[in-house]
Symmetry: C2
Subunit: 127 residues, 2 copies
């Protein structure tokens, strides 16, 4: 029987990324203190949106990933991280596929305050 | 003037680790949703303790890092992560120096419920 997610175990990030292929569909790799640690593969451009009640932290594992704001962009490569302030409109993008870890409250929907679309990921999916 | 920590910027993890040398002194690299993202260099064995009110997430960037429980140990290398359940006694260890990212609520003291000691890190130190 699978151990509950909270049991002490090693979680291998590369193995988790290898377990799925689709883009813009974050998976929960771990949970702690009401937050999710999610893994997502990104490619292309995500819709503009904001999260009125949460910061989002992005940490890049592979490839290049960009957070675009209306007045600037933050470019990230492997081993680089950024925090998206709450309530600030942004969109994310990767010209080629990237692998990105996200830290955010478990209730956060990936498309935030934008209208639900094909980009709106199902909640609670684990990897 | 330095930008506030919440302003959108790229945070380079390797550069942050290069900015300090001491062991068992976590630095805050970013904050989000009441949580700290801390960086720590580890070497040797940390005292037994628990955190009654918080999970702790450890993600290894360099070297090898071990979370010991009374009945098992979780061994981690680069790109591996583990969650320490709240209230469960544990200690951490690295035979050689390791670089580790920690996610936990901002109010968490590194030595938890153990008596304050030389291992108790000052709160709120940033890198």
């Amino acid at each position: 029987m699978e151990e509950p997610m909270s049991a002490p175990q090693a979680i291998d990030i590369a193995a988790k990324f290898a377990a799925f292929d689709d883009h813009w569909r974050p998976r929960i790799a771990a949970q702690a203190n009401g937050q999710d640690i999610r893994l997502v593969k990104t490619k292309g451009v995500f819709p503009w949106h904001s999260h009125p009640d949460a910061e989002e932290v992005f940490l890049v594992f592979k490839g290049r990933f960009r957070v675009e704001y209306r007045d600037r962009a933050v470019e990230l490569g492997p081993g680089q991280m950024t925090v998206v302030p709450r309530g600030v409109e942004h969109r994310t993008a990767s010209d080629e596929e990237a692998e990105v870890m996200i830290f955010e409250p478990s209730e956060v929907v990936n498309t935030g305050d934008a209208e639900a679309s094909a980009f709106t990921a199902p909640a609670g999916v684990r990897v």
